[in-house]
């Protein structure tokens, strides 16, 4: 297979940056999953779609808005009524789902090239993201595994909390480099490491 080239490549500078007084209180990384797939169920077929997610990935999603689940190699979460994003480190999940999702259940849309996945981790992760999004990132308001759809100006973003100090962001590929620059510049005051 031909490698998927990251839009961040020339801007992705591994190592420690910014204010070093307190070490790195932020870690940024592009997670480069092999598959990013959107599943959309027809009204009334949401439960059946969640069952397909369980069958294919083993991830159990409850029916609440924004409910999500994460394991070592995959993640899934709801981000809109009847819509989920399923992310897998392996390629080919789109094809797997296309085979499992019938026309009367819903649709499958492969976004593996079109979305860029960025992980923001560290003690200042909540504070850093508060610079961009009008969301309450506190653990009580945004529990682990849950997800939210939001936007920073024109940069539409899906955010899943994948740990107490970690958020996985999915942004449109064309915006990714510009957003990455903003992310890095905004993390400078905390000191950050790009992995």
């Amino acid at each position: 297979m031909v490698e998927i080239v990251s839009p961040l490549e020339p801007a992705y500078r591994r190592g420690a940056h910014g204010n070093r007084d307190g070490g790195s209180r932020i870690t940024l990384s592009e997670t480069q999953p092999g598959s990013i797939v959107q599943l959309a169920a027809w009204p009334g077929r949401e439960d059946a779609m969640r069952a397909v997610v369980k069958t294919v990935t083993g991830l159990a999603l409850d029916g609440a808005p924004g409910a999500g689940a994460v394991d070592e190699s995959s993640a899934a979460f709801g981000f809109a009524p009847g819509r989920w994003l399923v992310v897998d480190q392996a390629e080919g999940a789109g094809q797997t789902f296309r085979e499992k999702v019938s026309a009367d259940l819903g649709t499958v849309c492969d976004l593996s090239h079109g979305r860029t996945a960025i992980a923001v981790e560290g003690e200042k992760a909540e504070r850093l993201l508060s610079k961009f999004y009008a969301l309450d990132f506190s653990l009580a308001a945004f529990p682990v595994a849950s997800a939210k759809s939001t936007a920073h100006h024109d940069v539409f973003t899906l955010i899943q909390r994948t740990g107490a100090d970690r958020f996985d962001l999915y942004v449109y590929r064309s915006f990714a480099r510009s957003f990455w620059h903003l992310l890095c510049a905004s993390a400078e005051e905390f000191g950050y490491t790009v992995e």
Binding site: G66, P81, A134, S149, T150, F156
Partner: protein, 87 residues
């Protein structure tokens, strides 16, 4: 202003796009009643008070919402998915 999206919860106005008056009914597509079409396309109620309107959560789940908002106070009286309200 906050709008309580039924999916996403209360969100800042900056995430929403106003999508127009929700009091209109689209005429039968086959209809050639020009006054009905004219009313649908151009006529608006513009009340000083409660107004039913569509807002899209464009910077969020992208669902259209049917909102009742007071044009005098910005108070939002109710929010529902437009899909359900349209049926």
């Amino acid at each position: 202003m906050l709008i309580a999206c039924p999916y996403c919860g209360p969100r800042d106005l900056s995430e929403f796009t106003y999508q127009g008056d929700a009091n209109r009914t689209r005429p039968n597509p086959m209809s050639n009643d020009q006054s009905a079409w004219n009313a649908y396309v151009y006529e608006r109620v513009n009340p000083a008070g409660d107004h039913r309107e569509f807002w899209q959560h464009s910077g969020g789940c992208r669902a259209h919402l049917a909102v009742i908002r007071s044009t005098l106070t910005h108070e939002i009286k109710s929010v529902a998915f437009a899909r359900e309200a349209a049926k």
